[in-house]
Amino acid sequence: MSKPFLPELLVPAGSLEKLKVAVQYGANAVYLAGQQFGLRSAAENFTEDELREGIPYAHQHGVQTYVVLNGFLHDKDLETLPSFLKLLEELNVNAVIVSDLGVIETVKQFSTLPIHLSTQASCLNVESGKLWKTMGVKRLILGREASIAEAGKIKKETGLEVELFIHGSMCMAYSGNCVISNFTYGRDSNRGGCNHSCRFNYQVKYKDQSHSSFLFSSKDLMGLPLIEEFSKYEIDSIKVEGRMKSPLYAGTIAKVYSDALKEFEKKGTLSAEKIKHWVKELQKIPSRDFTEASLLHKADAQSVYTNHPTKNKKMKFGLAGEIIDVIENDSILVEVKSPIHGTDTLEILPFEGEPLAFKNFQVKDMMGNSIDYAKTSTVARLPYFPQAKVGQFIRKGASE
């Protein structure tokens, strides 16, 4: 059996903490932003010091780093870009993600950094790819409207690398073609200020009827069962959306997709049973339900999320905490994210393999005193497990 083509797993790193989580849980590449130039102004993003720590950290673990510069920048934004590019080049960033031709020109003028065309440019067809190639682009991050088969054709006919989203929230509009925030809230959605008006409830008035609807809100993309298709069409990179999401999200998605890719590499196929298991794992983190959107066929009525955005956000498996220290044969220290009781069923989420469940344990505070429960924003001592490692998450079973 010949070895199957394996796409790169590209995971969001909205902060230094999330970058480390993504790396530890199996990402092959991460994408991140500095404090300017990206599309997520509300995300923590990276200061210069954090870039200086995070990028070498990723590289030391064999993980590629892509920095987003994908806002539709104005002239004044471009003034400060050259010095930032110098920093990225000094740090050996593997590529920058760009949507605007002015930014591409600036990158080419002030650096030799490879350029990935952002999904924000809505490149969706072969001819478009060919034009962007003449502009100096090395990889196309295709719009979410492209199918896997179309992506394969674009790769073949342009000779460029292609990247396609496989998981996460979706814009209902073509990327870059929504300015609701700009005109209704004075916040430029294409420079990081999107206020997610598409998630609102609307009273829709037709000639003959009127009703309340979330018609502009999309379900979340989930393409895990299609990994074989991504491989078949030799999609270079499969991307997860979500720089604004929690560290648990970054860790869980990275782990599940990484486990699936490793299994696929080993066996050349994925069993229905395994897929079911991984999808169940993905369902443990909040989502707006899942859709394959346009990965196989054009997105249909089932791709619309008809519930209130917060309705399904209840944690099915909440984050109890993160392991911050392991004291051999003694205890593990946990930074508590939600209250931990000794009667809770907890699961340590390992970097690879199956979760380790435990219950009926003693909870102690940092000083080693027994306590009824550990409150949020404290540090707790839990029993020692040899498998536990710093950076792993501890999940708490269904709280619903």
Binding site: H74, D75, L78, L101, E105, E127, G193, Q203, M367, S377
Partner: protein, 385 residues
């Protein structure tokens, strides 16, 4: 300066002629976002417009997946281009294809993004047979002036018409109405009121190409027309596709020719939509960004040591040392910056490791316990002082 508008029916030609429209945009159903014209109508309108002495422009402005692109090309090849003087495109795939497969002049739509001179210049130098560029309505007066001074290609801007907010390929109104079959000739309209925001009456249209949402107010720069005329802008576009051309075009033409306050007030009173100038005066759509996150918890200082993980009042603080170069030392002074921006300086009088042993110093990655400090909370940043 010349006036440009959309031609959807023959009866508009006479009105266009009387009101100095010089260039008409013809929108085939299969190529144009708001297109309604069949192939036959496309040819007929273009032929009639040419007879009237108008310049005819074929509009191909949809965004296309590869499958859509192949369908669009199939359709495009059926069009008799001899009826047209130029082709207007937006999708880079369409730009590329038109350059290679026609000899027609190209009008390039730069309305999505393209808000810096460098990018606009690059488009201009990259597209062959470029006749005109169409600027984004998000360019302020200042940005317009600066950009116009640095490019040599004719420019068009929208001076009157609806503001497109959202363009999705999905059939959202049909989905919403649970319609089972999608007729390629469908044209569904609705209005939408935000139940969570304060905006009402967004116009929503669905057709073959997807779903489009418009701002309840229309863009109108007519009261700035005299200063716009001074800017060397070649074309002003008037989009009355949602209104009565017969009723409003004469009023608009009059205001463009000779702006006066009385006609302006009358126009505003009669026009069925509220009017705005958009970002013409200034574009400060990034000014709120700093408020989107807490600037106090950002790590910005070279003396950064780490972060407070727990603050047990009167008992202890738990810190994580994050600096790779600095150490926390017993007896040293450290500064805490809280999430509200408050700064507190304190001396380290007690220092223990996670095994609760007394230590003299701690370095990167260590979890340590130090003496409590009033007013210091979880997530406070810790600096050497």
């Amino acid at each position: 300066m010349k006036l440009v508008s959309y031609l959807e029916k023959k009866s508009d030609l006479e009105i266009f002629k009387e009101n100095e429209i010089k260039e008409v945009l013809i929108s085939p159903l299969y190529l144009t976002r708001m297109g309604k014209s069949s192939l036959e109508d496309t040819h007929f309108l273009a032929k009639e417009a040419k007879k009237t002495g108008l310049k005819t422009v074929l509009v191909w402005d949809i965004v296309m997946t590869e499958e859509d692109f192949q369908e669009a090309v199939f359709y495009f090849k059926k069009i008799d281009l001899s009826y047209f003087d130029a082709i207007r495109v937006q999708d880079p795939g369409a730009i590329q294809w038109i350059q290679l497969n026609t000899k027609h002049p190209i009008q390039l739509i730069l309305e999505t993004g393209n808000r810096n001179i460098l990018g606009i210049q690059k488009w201009i130098s990259s597209v062959e047979r470029l006749e005109k560029v169409i600027f984004s309505i998000e360019l302020s007066k200042e940005m317009l002036l600066k950009t116009l001074s640095e490019i040599s290609v004719p420019v068009e801007i929208l001076v009157m018409g609806p503001i497109l907010l959202f363009y999705s390929p999905r059939a959202l109104l049909s989905f919403d109405k649970k319609s089972e079959n999608l007729d390629p000739l469908r044209w569904i309209e609705a209005k939408a009121d935000s139940e969570e925001g304060f905006h009402h009456d967004f116009k929503v249209i669905e057709n073959k190409h997807g779903t489009f949402m418009f701002l309840p107010r229309e863009l109108c720069l007519l009261d700035k027309i005299d200063e716009l005329k001074q800017m060397n802008i070649e074309s002003f576009r008037i989009d009355l596709r949602h209104q009565s051309t017969e009723k409003f075009l004469p009023q608009i033409k009059k205001l463009i020719e000779n702006f006066n306050s009385k006609d302006w007030q009358d126009f505003k009173k009669n026009y069925p939509e509220k009017l705005i100038r958009g970002f013409y005066a200034a574009n400060k759509s990034d000014i709120l960004f700093k408020k989107l996150k807490n600037q106090n918890i950002q790590r910005v200082d070279k003396n950064y040591l780490g972060e407070v993980l727990e603050a047990k009042k009167g008992s202890y603080l738990v810190l994580k040392i994050k600096s790779k170069t600095l150490e926390l030392k017993m007896g040293s002074h450290i500064k805490f910056k809280t999430t509200t921006g408050k700064e507190v300086v304190s001396k380290v009088t007690q220092l223990r490791n996670s095994r609760l042993e007394l230590i003299d110093s701690a370095s990167h990655g260590a979890i340590v316990i130090v003496n409590p400090v009033n007013a210091v909370t979880v997530k406070s940043a810790v600096y050497q002082h």
